[in-house]
């Protein structure tokens, strides 16, 4: 219509000038405004990294679309709600921070990614948050970051609860968050300061509180402690199962984060039963399932970037024990035949050769005898519901199956995968070789100082430099340290044989 009016008026020269003004006001200015708005709020650009390891640490899975925290909100929340953290910053939740050149911590921990979406830089977690940790050879030594190892220090329950509690706190508002951003050097422009961030704070608060409602069952669980997550009760939240009505036997099922190395050997030459209970045989499906934990949804997942991670974990290998501590080659040599006799059939010939009749297959619960809660948390009902995930996409999930035991894992980098058993209820390999009754009834988790004798993390110290470690009680539901015991499991070997066996497993 505007153009039509214009054409009629343009013929009359006294109107020409007025027309131009009108044209500018009604067409040019709005168009410029639209162009500016599109530029300011359109776009969907993640921060990318050329190196596959940097991408693993900081690359995006696409989870920021749905769950991303505006960068500055993420940054200042630990200081807005310090009372909901066990100590200072995200560090106190056991998140791993790399150092800047000046020795200070980087702005974001390993396992977080950034993406500019709808005009805001957003931050959320990626794969590395649960699959990267640190090792120290002694309490006074600097930590070494190991990619792909279980995030043994990361307190995921604490992480979730921090956001849920903070969002419910009156301080989660622009009156408290904006000044804190300014104090910490966030120089928001006028638009950010008066429009974008106030709106974002309100939206985030709603979103996190909505999620808190769906996850309120977590607060009623026994503490997971660092390095563990209740994977498949969390998966039920995807379907919005009314968790308050769940069979109580399905709860309290935390399991250790797994390592991510050598995935190719888990799909070739034959597909292994993945996850602790072996409920899926497809690496790619398992990966997409895990990516729900990084906030992705079928329409928002960034498959291109996830495939970079997938490719990398196919081949990546764990660091060897000998890079950190010496291995007694002769003793290890003596352990080799013991390993072959007792362990290889289920756990593979070595840390790099996964051949073995039962490797990657499920051992029935009655036989393995380990704590059954993780198994029971995964139900047939959940399995069939999972087959609806990614409906309408060619990669709809089709491989989830209810099993009735735990899968025999290959042992690549097993020294870094302590504590042991699916629920991390045995602190060291040496202690796993003891009958259940002789294993520690309680111990501390979350220390990254390594114990090269027992082969596991130091578990008898209540505190290191940071907040106290987590006291793991094997009598709590889901924490049982029984099973994987008896003659066939090596718990009746002599002390010398056990020492030799453990030495051999240091070579994995």
């Amino acid at each position: 219509m505007n153009e039509l009016n214009g054409q009629q008026k343009i013929a009359k020269s006294p109107w020409k000038r007025r027309f131009i003004i009108l044209f500018i006001l009604t067409v040019v200015l709005p168009m410029l405004a639209v162009v500016w708005l599109v530029q300011r709020f359109g776009g969907d650009v993640p921060v990318d990294y050329a190196s596959p390891t940097e991408h693993f640490k900081y690359g995006s899975t696409g989870g920021e679309h749905e769950m991303g925290f505006p960068y500055w909100i993420w940054r200042v929340l630990p200081d807005v709600c310090p009372q909901y953290l066990p100590g200072k910053g995200y560090q106190s939740l056991g998140m791993v921070f790399e150092k800047n050149a000046d020795g200070s911590d980087r702005d974001l921990p390993v396992g977080t990614s950034q993406r500019r979406y709808q005009g805001i830089d957003r931050v959320f977690v990626n794969c590395a948050v649960c699959h990267t940790s640190t090792v120290r050879t002694a309490a006074d030594q600097p930590p070494t970051i190991v990619l792909g190892m279980p995030a043994a220090t990361f307190n995921m329950k604490g992480f979730e609860e921090f956001f849920f509690h903070c969002a419910a706190d009156p301080k989660f508002s622009k009156e408290f968050i904006l000044p804190e951003i300014e104090r910490q050097g966030g120089q928001l422009d006028l638009l950010d300061r008066y429009v974008v961030y106030p709106v974002a704070i309100a939206i985030m608060r709603d979103r996190v509180l909505a999620l808190a409602g769906r996850f309120d069952w977590v607060s009623r669980q026994h503490a997971w402690g660092p390095g563990r997550v209740d994977t498949f009760n969390s998966a039920k939240v995807i379907f919005n199962f009314p968790m308050a009505h769940l069979d109580p036997d399905e709860f309290d099922a935390p399991a250790d984060f797994p390592s991510l190395w050598r995935q190719r050997q888990r799909k070739e030459p034959q597909e292994m039963q993945l996850h602790w209970d072996g409920n899926n045989t497809t690496v790619e499906e398992r990966n997409k399932s895990a990516a729900f934990g990084t906030g992705t949804t079928p329409p928002t997942i960034d498959l291109e970037r996830i495939s970079r991670v997938e490719d990398w974990i196919l081949e990546v290998t764990p660091p060897s024990f000998s890079q950190f501590f010496p291995v007694d080659a002769e003793l290890a040599q003596r352990g080799a035949p013991i390993y072959k006799a007792y362990c290889a059939n289920c756990h593979g010939a070595s840390g790099s050769d996964f051949s073995g009749e039962l490797v990657g297959k499920v051992t029935p619960l009655a036989e393995i005898g380990t704590d059954r809660r993780r198994l029971d948390s995964y139900t047939y009902t959940l399995a069939v519901n999972q087959a609806t995930l990614y409906a309408g996409y060619p990669w709809r999930f089709t491989h989830f199956r209810k099993t009735h035991g735990y899968a025999n894992m290959p042992l690549d980098g097993v020294w870094l995968r302590a504590p042991y058993l699916h629920n991390g209820s045995v602190p060291s390999l040496r202690e796993l070789l003891e009958p259940a009754a002789a294993r520690p009834a309680s111990f501390y988790r979350g220390n990254d100082v390594y114990d090269p004798l027992k082969v596991g993390f130091v578990s008898d110290q209540a505190q290191g430099n940071g907040p106290p470690f987590f006291l793991f009680d094997t009598t709590a539901p889901g924490n049982g340290n029984g099973g994987h015991t008896g003659k066939a499991y090596g718990t009746e070997l002599s002390a010398d044989e056990k020492t030799a066996l453990v030495e051999f497993m240091k070579t994995f």
Partner: protein, 491 residues
């Protein structure tokens, strides 16, 4: 402006309008009504076709796929059983759901403009059993769906539609979390599909009024009030006070029914033959006259031939053959006169058996005449419902009897072993629809804590739920009963 340029303008505008209408019409047809065949794997073999193949119910009874998909996420607390919320999405309704399948057996997905979900025969005629609580279910096609809570499903959809949160804003928000609809589908869903679906589901509420009657018990898992469904839907009869819940029947080996021998189908012998039963049941699922009559008839014919030849399942656990041989003699003496004779498959006078009469009273000759009329007016040919007064229940064939628990037409006795007890000693309360098999008593486990959590409670004092009658063989000794039951496993 000249007349000519004015005319040109009109012409141009006219062309634009016509093009818009044509393009809009094509898009509207394509996205709203165009029928696309189901993928090949569905029809690749008879069994998948039975479980997942469309029988044409998507036209009138179909639920738009994405609405169906998100409802359990938006309204999880409405999935209830015996008044308790049961987590698990549609799986909590006990539908026979195979792992790795997008939909449970008995649910077909077909695109008619947009993907829609409807039901087929398998929803009530696919069953499952488990060897132990630590085993996965084995599904048996053609078996009575003893776990499926049909009434729960009907109610769930209506209850969702009644909720003010069943609206485009809330459903679209959830749909956008799980898929990427293009702009046209977004508009279609928001302005047509969601409001129309809500309206259609709310219309069902009036038709289904009797399933909300507080004076009737829930059907529970594995049962439906079949003839009242027919009465209220097919012939639009006014609601009466009858209530006749019955177990879903098995539909294997239908060739055993021979009209000439006096065999009649359905529990009260109210239908003439298998073909009629299949057609009438399919019409029930369609909820309307078939959109394509020829296709429909072909479907019914295929089902008829498939189910005629479908063999009954063999008992999958160990059988003590010696004991079974002893049982054979007892069977011949005590059971065969009704269950393996000329009388088998024919109605017996109710007084002779004495079981609950609710189902018998829920149907009558007048209804049969009307229903036959309705089907005839659709232009469909079949022998049809029996236009006679009904005398009692049919003495059933016992092929695959081991998988047809609970027993009697109304599923009021949990196991065969219990059925051999006098009425006074049969369980008065038990839980139906838990699929762990009880090899000792021959039937499903019905009173463990797990059975109570998963199953639905049946009180034999409830309307239509009496466990009375059929007191045959109840005087045998315990050892004889064990032997007889062992033999029944072989059928």
């Amino acid at each position: 402006m000249s007349m000519r340029s004015c005319r040109n303008w009109f012409r141009a505008i006219g062309v634009v309008i016509i093009v818009t209408i044509v393009v809009g019409g094509v898009i509207g047809y394509d996205r709203g009504f165009r029928e696309r065949p189901q993928p090949d794997w569905v029809t690749a073999d008879f069994e998948t076709r039975f479980k997942y193949g469309s029988i044409g119910a998507e036209h009138d009874a179909g639920i738009p796929y994405w609405i169906f998909y998100v409802l359990p996420r938006v309204f999880p607390e409405k999935l209830t059983q015996d008044g308790k919320v049961l987590p698990g999405g549609y799986a909590s309704l006990g539908v026979p759901w195979e792992q790795g399948q997008e939909l449970p057996a008995g649910f077909s997905k077909k695109t008619i403009g947009f993907p829609r979900v409807a039901n087929n025969c398998a929803v009530c005629h696919t069953t499952s059993y488990r060897e132990s609580p630590d085993a996965n279910p084995v599904f048996v096609v053609g078996g009575p769906a003893h776990t499926t809570n049909v009434e729960g499903f009907f109610r769930y959809l209506i209850d969702c539609a009644k909720d003010p949160r069943f609206n485009a804003d809330i459903l679209m928000a959830e749909i956008n979390r799980v898929t990427n609809l293009d702009f046209i589908d977004q508009l279609l869903y928001r302005f047509f599909v969601i409001p129309i679906t809500k309206k259609r589901l709310l219309e069902r509420e009036q038709q289904f009024a009797w399933i909300y009657r507080p004076d009737f018990p829930d059907w529970g898992r594995g049962r439906d009030d079949a003839m009242n469904l027919t009465k209220y839907f097919m012939i639009g009869a006014p609601m009466d006070d009858t209530f006749g819940p019955t177990d879903m029947p098995s539909v294997w080996n239908l060739k055993k029914y021979v009209w000439d021998k006096g065999h009649r189908m359905n529990y009260a012998g109210d239908s003439s033959d298998a073909y009629s039963v299949i057609m009438d049941s399919a019409l029930g699922l369609l909820g309307a006259a078939p959109a394509n009559k020829q296709e429909f008839v072909e479907q019914v014919q295929w089902l008829h031939s498939y189910l005629s030849e479908l063999p009954p399942p063999k008992y999958p656990f160990a059988i003590d053959q010696a004991k079974a041989a002893e049982g054979k003699a007892l069977f011949d003496a005590n059971c065969a006169s009704c269950h393996a004779s000329e009388l088998t498959g024919r109605p017996l006078a109710l007084a002779e058996v004495g079981t609950d009469r609710g189902r018998l009273d829920s149907w009558n000759k007048g209804a049969a005449i009307k229903a036959n009329q309705v089907v005839k007016e659709m232009g469909l040919e079949r022998k049809g419902l029996v236009e006679e007064d009904l005398i009692g229940y049919v003495a059933p064939f016992l092929d695959g009897i081991w998988l047809k628990a609970p027993y009697l037409h109304n599923g009021s006795v949990p196991t065969l072993r219990d059925l051999l007890e006098p009425v006074g000693q049969r369980p008065t309360v038990f839980w139906r629809g838990y699929d762990v098999y009880d090899q000792a008593r021959v039937g499903f486990v019905s009173d463990t804590p797990a059975a109570k959590r998963v199953g639905t409670r049946l009180d034999t004092g409830s309307i239509g739920g009496s466990n009375q009658g059929h007191e045959f063989g109840t005087a045998l000794s315990a050892a004889e009963k064990e032997a007889l039951v062992e033999y029944l496993k072989t059928l």
